[in-house]
Amino acid sequence: MSQIQERGSTHVYKVNKISKEEMESMVARCVYEQPPFCSAACPLKLDVRAMLKAAAGGNFKKALQLYEKIAPFPLILSQGCEAPCEGKCRLGEIGDGLAIREVERAVARYGEQSRLGSVFRSAKRQKIAILGSGLFTLLLAGELEKKAYPVTVFCEESDEEAYLRTAAPFLDEEAFALELRRLKGKEIRFECSCRLDAAFYEQHKASFDVLCASDEVRAKLFPDSAPIPELMICEAERLVSGPTRGVLDAAFGAKKAALTVDRLAQKLDPRNTRGQEGPTDSLLYTDLSEAKALRRVAVPAGGYTKEQAMEEAGRCIQCHCEECLKSCAYLKHYKKHPGLLAREIYNNTQIIMGDHQLNKPMNACSLCGQCTVVCPNGFDMARVCHLARQNMVSTDKMPLAPHEFALLDMLFSNGNAFLARPQPGFASCRYVFFPGCQAAAIAPETVRAAYEDLCSRLEGGVALMLGCCGAIADWAGRTEMAQQAHELLDRELARLGDPIVIAGCPSCAKELREHGVKELRGIWDVLEEIGLPEGVHKLERPMALHDSCGARGDAATQASIRRLAASLGVRLTDTPYSGDRSPCCGYGGLTAYANREVAGEMTEQCLERSDEPYLSYCMACRDRFARQGRESRHLLELVYGTDAGAPPDISEKRWNRLTLKRSLLRELWGEESMEDKLNFELNYTAEARRMMDERMILTDDVIAVLEDFRASGEAIEDEDGLLVARRRVGNATFWVKFSRTDGGYLVHRAWSHRMNVVKREG
């Protein structure tokens, strides 16, 4: 019996790093975290989307909190801002863009000011002086007060009211009164009626840690110095200042200047760690297909009422890119955008000691590649998960448990169930039919019919190869095992005279092409060329076509399948997410083994697309849909008039492969194979059979336990008189609860565990 070596220990202290740059470049393709276009255009980086959401819901207090993050004087900014955000609103492409500034005005007017901010902060020690008047100095004072610096404003005006009037002459009276109250509420000291000349500057400069000035005062004091616009500073004089134009520019200048002051106060270079400042371009993708083209809510003379502001804010479509999340059951399950999930999976591979909490998500992706097609930027989650799996395997950190059953199944396909023979009467063949392991497991009679048809109608001989293409090991990230499978196939293909491979499964076709099989065609290509077999039964019925993820990006195969289905009389109904956008049935990437819950959700999502019976051209899809209770047929069943019937359980799948091989050997090549005959009768209750399928326990495992019991006599008897025996097979211990019958045993229950249990002395 085949076995796979379990990793020896959890104490492995090595990592094989995936290049951070490679991972970053993959993660960067996800635009989910890109700012919406309005925020990207705002030099102050207002979270417009969140503010509009709060306002739309009538939460003006929260909306104002968000607005105050960038505007210490919200009425000033909202009345004077040039609003570059509005020009970038995507709704402007189909109707009116949002009146963002008008909503901001309403937020500034109706939002209740939060008073919590100043209670919990402790004032900084470094003292800051601001000399002069104007909007820049006012906003700078506001920014610095927010950062808890003790600020003193020296101005020529007689009082704060006159100072505010000079700074914001455009405010209406109501707004002026509100902003004056706000200014007086801030911890800003004022020294008014000052004569701001060189003597004044010299006299005060030693008393402050950082000095700032309006551009007018700066020009008077240092007429020959030129401030650096990015930093808002005259470096030689260490005076924070700079010219600004307009309200938004003054606000942006004040923000840059406040950062410079902060750096200087902490004795740091103001050039360093400033982050990205100013407006940017956004790479966000917005799906406008369902957005409504609406007019903006008309603005009355005094600005929006609360209700009008809520209505206008409610038009915001909250630009988010969720194209992949809409279509992928896996991403939906984990409720994470792929950029974040990829980063977490990358971090998972870097853990030397501790829990790898992302193992399950990493192994739950079907590697189907749908995200790459639906993502406007081609994000490739399959590559992220596949690389991470390979990485975990190579460092001996990958648990074997999630994939062991599938890997053993592959070894079975390429061991006991493997067959490679030239067509009877041929020493070497022009073709070899490679139906794929799932076809032989699920629909052996269809495989037989297809092979017989190909033999009878193709010139030059058709060999048969029953086995696994290696995709199972490849999906598990086990490169060496995949390579062993490819080497076996290469050897056998050479022995058959390097024939042209006729693949029965698009996933096998893809796997074999990727690993260097030069001449390969799909059976669908061949059938199109030689025509359908004689006497084919035409169906006049509608069916929903499910494209195989193995055929993603293969337009020729997808088209060929559609033509064949049409020539069989099938009326294909259109389903969303077909062709290259088709989702995975849940089998791909070994999801069905590693995470049944996610695999189930994948299958459900596939089946939600249509009420018609499903037609597929990958046997795994056919099987998963049928298991879900849906009428499901493989294209080859229709071509050959076979019916694979109810989906087989895991033991029957193995039995089908073995029986197909043995019967073909006997009938076509006249070879008898050794059959393992049981020398006792073995029956199962329906409950036991269901339980075994769910718990991945094969009849072979049960037989191994009972043979051991017959040899050793070791078992226990429980209260109900049932016997329980056990045997360690490979990396698991299997337990069977059974009763004796006339000629043998009736199995009632079975279970297993991977831990080994031994008696302890003492």
Binding site: R7, T10, P399, M755, V757, V758
Partner: protein, 73 residues
């Protein structure tokens, strides 16, 4: 004397019998081992041949969850 740690205890209370030895199973010392980690437990054990019994509930419950935890180490 150091107190010996047991992660899990099942007392068969005379309800299980070893078929081979014909004697009732008793609460005995056993050890689960997995991926180079060991856990001392007390399980139903045959006092004669040492057969250690792992009931279905234990295998699918506690044992399975510890396996998952260790596999992700």
């Amino acid at each position: 004397m150091a107190i010996e740690k047991n992660y899990y205890t099942i007392d068969p209370q005379g309800k299980l019998k070893c078929v081979k030895c014909g004697v009732p199973l008793v609460k005995g010392k056993a050890k689960f081992m997995y991926l180079d980690n060991g856990f001392p437990v007390e399980l139903p054990v045959c006092p004669v041949c040492g057969f250690v019994y792992v009931p279905e509930e234990l295998a699918l419950g506690k044992v399975a969850s510890v396996e998952r935890a260790l596999e992700d180490k």
